[in-house]
Symmetry: D2
Subunit: 227 residues, 4 copies
Amino acid sequence: MQLSLVQREEFLARLTTNLNKQWECILSENSLLKRMQSQPISKELYAQYMIETFHYTKHNARNQALVGVVASNISGGYQKFCMEHAAEETGHEYMALHDLKAIGIDIATVEQSTPLPETETLIAYLYYISATGNPVQRLGYSFWAESVYGYISPILTKLRSDLKLIPSQMTFFIAHSDIDADHAEEVKKVMLQNCRTPEDWAAVERVMTTSLNLTVQMLTAIDCFHS
Amino acid sequence: MQLSLVQREEFLARLTTNLNKQWECILSENSLLKRMQSQPISKELYAQYMIETFHYTKHNARNQALVGVVASNISGGYQKFCMEHAAEETGHEYMALHDLKAIGIDIATVEQSTPLPETETLIAYLYYISATGNPVQRLGYSFWAESVYGYISPILTKLRSDLKLIPSQMTFFIAHSDIDADHAEEVKKVMLQNCRTPEDWAAVERVMTTSLNLTVQMLTAIDCFHS
Amino acid sequence: MQLSLVQREEFLARLTTNLNKQWECILSENSLLKRMQSQPISKELYAQYMIETFHYTKHNARNQALVGVVASNISGGYQKFCMEHAAEETGHEYMALHDLKAIGIDIATVEQSTPLPETETLIAYLYYISATGNPVQRLGYSFWAESVYGYISPILTKLRSDLKLIPSQMTFFIAHSDIDADHAEEVKKVMLQNCRTPEDWAAVERVMTTSLNLTVQMLTAIDCFHS
Amino acid sequence: MQLSLVQREEFLARLTTNLNKQWECILSENSLLKRMQSQPISKELYAQYMIETFHYTKHNARNQALVGVVASNISGGYQKFCMEHAAEETGHEYMALHDLKAIGIDIATVEQSTPLPETETLIAYLYYISATGNPVQRLGYSFWAESVYGYISPILTKLRSDLKLIPSQMTFFIAHSDIDADHAEEVKKVMLQNCRTPEDWAAVERVMTTSLNLTVQMLTAIDCFHS
């Protein structure tokens, strides 16, 4: 069953509603995110977070491109999006490294470190859903990741103030919040064009929910590991 | 640094101790496993568990063989183990299907079902650690999976009694508890031969701990989904 | 041993000399290319060539991106080049289809056709050298492919005249000769930056020579198949 | 269209006939094989052949297992065959090394050598047809490779006599001629069970013809390289 554009927009609206609900739940229940909103954020916690960010970000361009490499029967437009998006995401891990260096962390140690198991699980999941299953499903990850700043900007503002960071010390977050506003719109457009059946939207939602949950599990692990 | 055989046996003993601790913790804290030990186990719960088992078991021979396909610089003996072990694991998902049919579940529906996200995450993790990283690390999964019956046999006995199952209705568990006793010994031998450095043992332990945790998360999800 | 920029430029000059020699040899010895220079080119031969071009071009963006997906220890700049170049190459197979349609060939039949074994061998080789070995080696393919028009433009001019084609019927060749002039310069720049050792240049030359030979074998097979 | 067993046996008979024809053509036209039949075979030529054999044999267990790893919708029986066959083929490259050592070749040099481009092309092709396309098609390679001794045994006998080799110096050929007699029968059985449509048989024949041709191209390259 091919959905009309109006129907696809309804699916997109429902996806947005469900993402809002998931975030509401996360922001009110995750102990780390709650504490970050109410208590001073330590440099150590931020550093640990950026280390894990370095680890998974290294794989994002790769798993994004992988969709375009392995999927057959995808539109030329969607394949091009995968490759272009991968090109844009390439090297973003260096921003994480830059910001770690800016707060005095030894970069060489970070580069040789092993990610937390929860970070590795997130990485594994993103490769798996990029290499197998419905080729549009990775859009579910992009959908929440590119719009994350709408949800976490109060925390980022507080982080910046707590740690007295200036913009040039937060390139990862600042660059992403700029880039991702455009990306978020593009991701929606690509979804409306390429998610043509209810099954496509179900696959996208499944990956959205699961990859956000795995990211929250990574956050929780950072908190445990750090404290 | 190459470890002596005596040192390797110490690492193996420590691994066993740590696995015992992890299981103790799981059996005393996981609400599903606790309830299964104290209250009657329902057919529905067992069926849901076997459905997820069907899903991840389908991938076990594949990710096991993948180690032998992609790893370079592995010994001929270890590569042969990967291929032989994969051959032995091939088709075990049909035992899960058989047992589901034996308790009246419609097989066609099971085959077309989507695994729970937690099951998919476990599958993704096993492919990832098989395709990348230290080639011996998947042994950490085999290590606990092949010795699982020592830890869960009281639950299996209770399950069999609660659901009044006869052996021919439990081929998956019975076949595995027989096969796996041999496998467990073989896995230990392969580890002693091929885990030559402290880094090898650390990689094995990491995968042991993480894959068992992901399996417990799958169990918890089965419980939530089912109730 | 890290080469100086001057040394790299010497390697590049030698690569160019060797490519010139290989082409000289091909143009004077390959019976198809010789006949195309001396006798009228038939529509059937051109069509068969464009069909095989359709088949292998479908894979070029994919195997280019694959380098960026699988290679570790590559510079951020080279990884970005792989992804961007893949994005640019995406969908070029549709130009081949367009041109086939423009000369009256049934597109649906082309899309369902099986490539010649020689075309499949070329495709297989490009995936293999993209997924394994020295990560810079695929540049050896780009190096000759992006500069191909300098060698074959007399044949293309004759083709256009023999078949009385107008530019809008030859989008694949015309678009590529425009795009590729820029690409050729970029490929050289990327090679000078990323081919740092004699081993890197040897790997590049090996892939250059082999992939051009496999392409010539494809041409020869087209000729046999067609006549 | 599902073929009956009788029809499958007809396809198998035709495959055998076509393989006979291909070999007849190779044995009467390939200059290397002709010379090996009529002139003394040099140790250098044999060594070069065994070096290339070492290189491609290293990949045979891997690409065989890959079929069982990536293919979905294959029968449990065929998947098990892939894994078991991979286990049996594992480590055969060490026989090639053994035989090279037995005639005084330095093994370390061989292990670090680069295969000829033609050998690499064969390896690339076998991975490609194992990872993509019709999952039964790799049987076309096994079909001729396991029955090769019927075609080349006169050459092997002459080789043994020319170089005055004793059986313990020819483990690769002797072990394979023993093992492969059984394998050849098993491959036929597996084909009759799993090649169910004319398309399956066409894919098998295509891979048979192409992989044998690529092997002959490797032979020719050994001859050129050596002389």
